[in-house]
Each structure stands twice: as C-alpha cells, then as structure tokens.
C-alpha cells in the first residue's frame, strides 16, 4: 500500500469529478505570495494552512491553522516551512479554501477479497467514529460497477432524504470510479460537506492509499509515496529503498529508534517470526530488515552496513529459514563484506552476531560466517538443525 499526501490525493479526486476545495501546495512564502496574485480565491476566501508532510497529530503540533485570511496564511506558511519535527523537516505547506457548511457526512471505498465496498454515513468528522453503526455498505464484486439505483438505495439506507439522496449517490459513484480507475486500495473522505454557497457536496479531507504495484500503468502518478507510519523515511531507509528498486529480489529496512537488537534476517515471512521472537523474549527491536528473492550480494552488503550503523545495538540476528533459491553463500558474502567494512570503521564493538540459515550452498555460506571468528568477530553460527528462532533465545539469554 502506498499512502499519498493530500495534495496529489485531492488531485486524483478532482480528476474523477469530485468537488474538492481550491488548494495550492507551496514550498516557500514567496511562492504563496505570487500565487495570491494569480488566484482570486486566495484573497477572497478564508483559508486553512497545513504542513504537507507524512506527519501524525499535525493539529497538536500546531501544523494545522484554520480560519486564516491571506496575510495570516502567509505568516502560517513562513512559520511552518523549515520546522523540524523529529527526523522530518517541513518542506511543503498546503493552503486550501475553507468551505462554509452546516452538515458533515462520510464516504469511503475499501478493497475487499471479493472486490470492494462503498461506505456511506449521514454523519461525518469525529461523529462517525463513535457512531460506526450508522455507516452503511454496498458490497461489489470485482469487475462490477455500482448501478445508480443501488447507490441511491445505499444513500437512503444511510438516512439521506430529498435531493441529498441523489447527490450522495452521485458522490459515492464518483468515489468508486476514482477508486477503481486509479488502482486505489482505500479512499476515504471525512467529512463530505454540503457547501452552503451552492448546495454541492465537497470532499474536505481525504485519505488516499494506492496500490504501488500498479504504478506501471499510471504514468500520471508523478508524486512520491509517503511513509505510512507517521514519519518520513530516514536517509538510511531511503538509501535501502533506492537499492531495492534497482535489483532482482528485495532488501527492506526500517529503523526503530531506541532498540538494542538489530535484525538482518532473510525472507518476508521468517523476518516477522524473528521480530516476534525478540519481542516475546523481552528484547527491543532496533529495526526491521529483510532480504529475499536471491538479491545480489552488493545489495545485501548495503543493507548490512545500515544494520551495523544502528546506534546502541548489542546483538545482530542474521536469521533465515531454509531458502528455496536464494544462494546462501553469495548473500552471506555480501553480509560478510558489510561486517568487515563496519568493523574497519570501528563499529560492532561489543556486538554479538547470531547466524542461522539453510538453503542452496548453505555449508559454504555457514563456513564462511564461522571463519569470521578468526578475524575477531563475536559470532555464533548455527545450521538448519537449530530451530529457526532459537538464536534469538540464545542471544537474549546471553545478556
């Protein structure tokens, strides 16, 4: 899943005929000032300014300001740009018009195993979360589009009446068109508001999750995907992602600040069992990592360097199941190079390394790891006869 920030998310909705407030995304006050000269609405409307970054709790951080005139929006932009929040620097601010309205509603489309589900409620904002039973659903099979009648029925079920039945049905229909055509996995508009000026439904705030795997057929997705965990990707994470996008197979890396057990396991499945084992033993994960699909040794080497550079680590878990086709000797070669480099840079002092692996050329790979002992590494190597996650037990007992 790939999260999309509000700017590009609203752009996609607009493309499919959904009313969105006027908005601009700026990287400096100057840019906003010049846009103010070109766009009447910026001067005329009340405005909202938000930091346009993958940050959680923006309201609490003072990174959302509402009810602004243009001057105040400029001041808010100036204040937000360059703000440092954890590892993130705010580089973009989105300025959108405030829509005077009375009623708030809810509309979402989500992916299901059979196809998708359209969700509609005649309440919105925080009210919908505490009244979840008021959300009504229309289930659709893959390949099926909702008929206008079924949408109106949904609208009525959710408690809409009068002209709003048709308006909400049409809004939901456009949401579905956007979801289906843009390979979305989740689209949520909360709130949908009835604009006082013209009685039209407008999407005020949107969550857009797209299927990153479908990027190849959407040449107009010219935006970057945002991290999904409420912070931007770190430099190290971005570097591993850059390697990942270039290679056959994959390498993954996510930092978890404050942990002392570093992970360097193989396989998307096994890596999570290793993480579970660390947590179950009371350890603190310093990262998540994974390599799989027989990646080139240099890619594993880059991953290893990042893992070795994590601060305050005491153990590195080089785990893995019995590989189908990942060459153990070759990928371990990459890890060994990474270890050597880290050691020559003065890292890995008082760090214990724990290895367990099987698969093609396992004997050669494990022998090469064992040989690191002679180079002064504190390394413990086990083969397939030691159960998968036992090295975690040993590592955390050895404290």
């Amino acid at each position: 899943m790939a999260k999309v920030l509000e700017g590009p998310g609203m752009g996609l909705m607009k493309k499919w005929g959904i009313n969105v407030p006027n908005y601009v995304v700026v990287t400096s006050v100057d840019e906003l000032t010049r846009l103010g000269q070109a766009n009447e609405w910026l001067k005329r409307s009340k405005l909202v300014a938000k930091a346009h970054e993958a940050l959680g709790s923006r309201f609490k951080l003072g990174l959302v300001k509402i009810d602004l005139d243009f001057k105040a929006a400029e001041a808010a932009t100036k204040e937000m740009i360059g703000r440092q929040v954890g590892s993130i620097t705010v580089t973009q601010v989105i300025i959108s018009e405030m829509i005077p309205h009375k009623e708030e509603y809810y509309c979402a489309v989500k992916s299901t195993r059979e196809g998708s589900e359209i969700l509609v409620a005649n309440c919105g904002g925080i009210e919908v979360e505490s009244n979840w039973e008021r959300v009504k659903r229309l289930c659709l099979e893959i390949g099926q589009s909702p008929s206008p009648e079924s949408l109106e029925k949904l609208s009525k079920e959710a408690g809409f009446s009068g002209t709003l039945v048709k308006k909400m049905a049409e809004f939901a229909g456009k949401m579905f068109a956007c979801f289906d055509s843009e390979d979305a996995q989740y689209l949520e508009v909360n709130p949908v508001v009835l604009r006082a000026a013209d009685e039209e439904l407008v999407a005020l705030d949107a969550v857009t999750l797209l299927d990153g795997d479908a990027k190849f057929r959407h040449p107009d997705w010219n935006f970057a995907f945002a991290a999904e965990f409420g912070r931007a990707y770190s430099k190290q994470e971005l570097e591993v992602m850059a390697v990942d996008s270039k290679i056959k197979g994959s390498v993954k890396f996510i930092e978890i600040p404050g942990g002392d057990t570093a992970m360097l396991p193989a396989g998307g499945g096994a890596s999570v069992y290793y993480s579970d084992a660390v947590v179950a033993r009371g350890g603190k994960l310093a990262n998540y990592a994974e390599y799989s699909g027989d990646p080139p040794d240099w890619a594993v080497e880059v991953l290893t360097e990042k893992v070795c550079s994590l601060p305050g680590i005491r153990n590195i878990i080089v785990g893995g199941a019995i590989a189908n086709f990942t060459d153990v000797k070759k990928t371990f070669g990459g890890i060994i190079n990474g270890f050597r480099k880290a050691k020559s840079e003065g890292k890995l002092k008082n760090v214990k390394i724990w290895v367990r692996r099987g698969g093609p050329r396992e004997k050669e790979g494990l022998d090469a790891m064992r040989a690191l002992k002679e180079e002064g590494f504190d390394i413990n190597v086990f083969d397939r006869n030691t159960p998968l996650t036992d090295i975690v037990d040993k590592a955390l007992q050895a404290k």
Partner: protein
C-alpha cells in the same frame, strides 16, 4: 495421494529465464523420484520456435517454446497446469490466457508485485470456471514423491534431507515462500514428512486461500494433519478457523501466526509481506487470528520454535492410534550427477587438460603475467615493454632494454599510407569493412617482402655470430643456401639517401655501452654489400633484428615487434578513413597494364 499436483500433472511454463530456472529445479525433483520430466512446453513469444535445454540427470532434454498457450496445448494435449513467471505488468494477461484454455485446470502465479486488482480478477475468473488460481507471489506447490511445481523445496540436497522423495502424512499451506521449506523440513524431522505443500503467496488477496486447500486436504485420505503458517493482516486465518470450527473435521489443524511484535511497535509501523497489514480496530492482528484458530480447536503453539514439538506430538498420536505407520525409507536414492567442476573439487575425477599455458593466469581477481599481478607491475613503475618481455620471453627485462623496445616500437609504428600493410587496411576501410578485419587485411601483407623479415634477419645474423663467421663466409653461405640476406636492402633508401630510423636506433644502442655482437656484424655486412650496390644497406628490419637478438629476445618472437608496432599505425589508418567517411575506392584503368589477349571470338563448345 496428494492434492493439486500429482503424477499426472503436465506443465507448461509461461515466461523466460526465471521459468527455465524453475524447470531445472523441477527436473532435479523428477530425477530424484525417477519420473520423466513433467514440464512439456514453455510459452514465451520472444523465443517461440526455439527450445530450452533442461538438464535431467547427466543428459539434456529440449523443451519446445511456443508463442501462445493455445499452441502449446494443441501440440501437447496432456498439459493441465500452467506456471506463470511473466513480469508483473503482463502477468494478468498471461494468467487469463492460461485460465481460458479448456485443458488447463491449475494456474500457479509466481510473479511478485502483481496489482491487487489484477489478482482479484484472476481469482474471480478461476472460481467462475471452477479452476484453481494459486498466487500471485507463490513459491510453488510440491507433492512428495509425485510432483514439483516451481522452485519450492530448494536445492537437491534439501529435497533429500526433507524426504520429499516419498509421501508423509502432513499437508502444508504457507504464505511465505522461505517458510514453506522450513515447515517441510520440520515435518520430515519431527514427523514422517509431507503429502503436499503449497505456497499461496504473501499478497493481500491471493487467488486461493487456506480454506480452498483445507477442503482438498480433508478429502485426501493420505493427509492426516495440516500445518498452516499465517501472518497478521487480512482475514484468511480467521476464515480457516471458521472452516475448522464449523464441523468435525478429519484432518488435524496445526497453525502458527506471525506478527505479535506489532503490539509493541510504534503505531502504524507495519512490515513483512504485502498482505501483512493490520486492519483498523485490531482486526487481522496476530493475536486475534491465533485466538480464533485456538477457539476453533486447532493446535496453536505459542512460538514458531514450538511448532516442531507440536508436529511431533500430533505425529505420535497418529502413530499410536494406528492412523499412520512408520515410513519405510528406500534403500538407495538417485544422486544428482556432479558437474565436472564439482567433481574435481571433490577430488573425484581427473581431467587431462586441452591446452597448456606457461605465461599467464586469469583465475584470480586480475591477470598475472608470468606470475606478476598486472596492478603491481603498474604500481611499481613497469611499462608496456616489460609486459612484452614477460609474455614473449618470460622474463622481467631491464629499464635499459625496455627503453630500446619502446624506441623500436615508436620508430616502426607507421610508415605512411603507401606501404602494403597500410594500403590494404585503407582499401578495406574504404570498402566499409570493420576495424578488426581491416587491420587483419593489413596484417596479411606482413611477410617476406614487407615487414616480415625481422625474424629471418635475426636468425641469420645470430647464426653467423654463433658460428664466428667472417662477413665473406656469411655472404657466401647465404648465397649458396638461402639467397639475398634478409634485413639488407631497401626499395627507396640508399647510402646517399640513408634511412633516418636506422641511424637513430643504431646511434642510441651504440651509446649505451652494451655488447652488441649481432648489430656490429650486421653493420660489417652492410659495409660490403653497400659497396656492391648502393641500396643494399642495413634496413630497419635488419637493425631491429640484430638489436633484439643482442638483448636476448628469442628469434621466433622478432616479427612480433614489427606486427605489434605496425598495428598501431594500421588502427590509425582505419580510424582516419572512418573519420573522413571515405568512399569505396577502385583502381583506375590507367594504373593497370592490360596485357591480356585482345578480344576474340569464343569457339563452339566441343
């Protein structure tokens, strides 16, 4: 018995190199269980009409490549299963093509990164047709002793260690490819092994889920228990729990679920497979899945590590109740033939080498010339002439000798466009011929009359010096046995019009204070011959030859100095013509003396 893949499974593989690699692994398994190769065809339009060579035992089997599934099933009517190894952007089209063929009943997609929507469409289409669509991102399917689809099961040694050559009693269903092998191994160590193991792929919406296969396992009498390896996200494990709890089932269910670490991670942080995403309000968490499975009556060990003992316990119960018997292991198993390299490494074969070399070795990280690494030669200040010394005469020559060679090369690198070699290269270049062939055309000219006299000159001067001949004796010997003295005489140069190159080289060598018996002798010869005829002077070939013999190069290498140096010039001439985009050239009539008979009538054929 087994499910999904059995002895009657006949396979077409859609895709290129990844498909061929899978076929190789499948052939290893077929060889282990002494069955013919189950892959009958490939579909890969770029290679249609060709065939892929798949090693089977010590032989090779050619498997034809077709441009479409329809064509493949027409030629191979027994095909019933397709493996899709096509890139993510074209995978759906390929999968649809296979599903729509009436003969194909099972389609397993190995491709990773397939859009969710495409996977759903493929799954729905297969359900509508009553077929199986497995994957995407599936590692494959393996039925012990019967059939392997894809690389699942790993290397040959692992197939044997995991006892995949014969049936056990445990079914396996996993999302993770790597863990499928781990579970197969555990089943073989803690119990009697597997019946069938299936990788359903780690995507959010796989075409077939645990329930699809649990149902099949329930109907397979050989399968007594099923191990499922789940992970957080989605609802596949909950559905499996629901199925298991719905009524009394014949098979025992053992399950583990990953993702408990999620509970202590920063909010929103998720990892693992694409499908491993926890929903809102804790649905799809590892805990809720594991609780649901326990509640349904499945055996759910607390950690992955406890899975082995849990499987063992189940197996012991099955043994006690007489539902399974201890397996009988075959007395012997086929061994995968070793490659020559592997066998040599294990000291099992001796090979008589085809060629022998004494000058260089490229097997390390860089070439060694006569044992010296090229980079070390560079870093210690050695130059091209030293490399020549090492490769032509297997010795590290002195700085002074290197300087002589360098000068020889500089003097003979080129001699204008009119000489035979350069002219031939230019002629070829103008005819549009490539660099190597054009240079070769020039090279062909090097012989007794042009540039190729160095070796012979060296040989005869050396013969005279070795045998302490006087100049007169030498000239008489040459006249009697060989004819003109090689290295003596020039087409245009003469005593009055001396060759500056010879003067230069002789002057330099003479200034070095080294012993030059051959050169001295050659100059004595010139004194006599040039009196007889003005142009019978020591030419550049002869000078080079004498000097090179004096500094110890073997006679047979001498022509090489001219060939090497002149190559510089020939390449220059080719590039020069190319740069000018020269046109094809042809001799003019007036440059030919037409001495053939005048035109006449052809007599009638007798």
């Amino acid at each position: 018995m087994s499910i999904l893949a059995n002895k009657d499974t006949r396979v077409v593989i859609q895709g290129g190199q990844a498909g061929v690699n899978a076929a190789r692994r499948m052939a290893e398994f077929c060889y282990l269980i002494k069955r013919p190769l189950n892959v009958e065809a490939f579909v890969y339009p770029p290679d249609a009409g060709k065939s892929n060579e798949i090693p089977y035992g010590s032989g090779l089997i050619a498997i034809p490549v077709y441009k479409s599934i329809a064509e493949a099933t027409k030629h191979h009517p027994t095909l019933n299963t397709s493996l899709v190894y096509i890139g993510a952007d074209r995978a759906m089209k390929g999968g649809m093509e296979a599903l729509d063929d009436s003969r194909i009943k099972v389609v397993s997609m190995i491709t990773e990164g397939v859009p969710e929507k495409d996977a759903k469409i493929l799954g729905a289409h297969a359900r509508k047709l009553g077929k199986v669509f497995n994957g995407p991102s599936s590692i494959g399917i393996i039925s012990a002793g019967a059939c392997r689809l894809g690389v699942i099961g790993g290397a040959f040694d692992n197939l044997v260690l995991s006892k995949l050559y014969r049936e056990g009693s445990f079914g396996v269903i996993t999302k993770s490819g790597g863990l499928s092998n781990e579970i197969i191994w555990i089943c073989s160590q803690f119990a009697d092994g597997i019946t069938t193991a299936i990788g359903i792929g780690g995507d959010a919406y796989p075409g077939t889920d645990y329930v699809s296969y649990l149902e099949m396992f329930e109907n397979d009498p050989q399968t007594k228990a099923v191990v499922i390896v789940g992970e957080m996200g989605g609802d596949l494990e909950e559905r499996a729990a629901e199925w298991y709890g719905a009524k009394k089932r014949r098979v025992k269910l053992i399950a583990v679920v990953s993702g408990f670490c999620q509970e202590s991670l920063p909010k929103g942080m998720k990892f693992g497979h694409a499908g491993a995403k926890e929903g809102m309000k804790g649905e799809g968490s590892a805990r809720s899945k594991s609780d649901a499975l326990k509640k349904a009556g499945a055996l759910v060990p607390p950690t992955f590590g406890a899975l082995g003992p849990a499987i063992k316990e189940t197996y012991q119960d099955l043994l006690k109740s007489g539902q399974v018997k201890e397996p009988v292991e075959p007395a012997t198993l086929p061994r995968l033939p070793k490659t020559v390299e592997e066998a040599m490494k294990a000291d099992e074969v001796m090979v008589s080498p085809l060629i022998r070399t004494t000058i260089s070795d490229d097997r390390g990280d860089e070439p060694c010339y006569d044992g010296y690494p090229a980079s070390e030669l560079i870093n210690k200040g050695y130059e091209i002439p030293h490399v020549i010394g090492l490769l032509w005469d297997k010795r590290l020559i002195s700085k002074q000798e290197a300087e002589i060679i360098k000068r020889i090369m500089m003097l003979s690198a080129d001699h204008g466009p009119c000489v035979s070699g350069a002219y031939a290269t230019i002629l070829a270049a103008c005819a549009g011929i490539g660099l190597s062939q054009s240079v070769a055309a020039g090279m062909i000219m090097i012989g007794p009359r042009f540039g190729g006299a160095v070796t012979d000159a060296g040989r005869f001067f050396k013969y005279a010096v070795d045998n302490k001949m006087s100049v007169d004796e030498f000239l008489a010997y040459m006249k009697k046995n060989h004819g003109p003295v090689p290295g003596i005489g020039h087409r245009v140069k003469s005593l009055r019009n001396p060759d500056k190159r010879v003067k230069e080289l002789v002057g330099y060598v003479k200034s070095l204070n080294i012993k030059t018996p051959c050169l001295d002798f050659a100059l004595e010869v010139e004194k006599i011959t040039s009196v007889k005829k003005d142009n019978l002077i020591l030419n550049v070939d002869g000078t080079m030859a004498a000097v090179l013999v004096d500094i110890g190069f073997p006679v047979d290498s001498l022509n090489g100095f001219f060939i090497l140096s002149r190559t510089i010039g020939l390449i220059g001439h080719w590039v020069d013509q190319k740069r000018q985009d020269s046109r094809l050239i042809r001799l003019f009539d007036y440059l030919v003396n037409y001495a053939a008979p005048k035109r006449r009538e052809v007599p009638p054929l007798k």
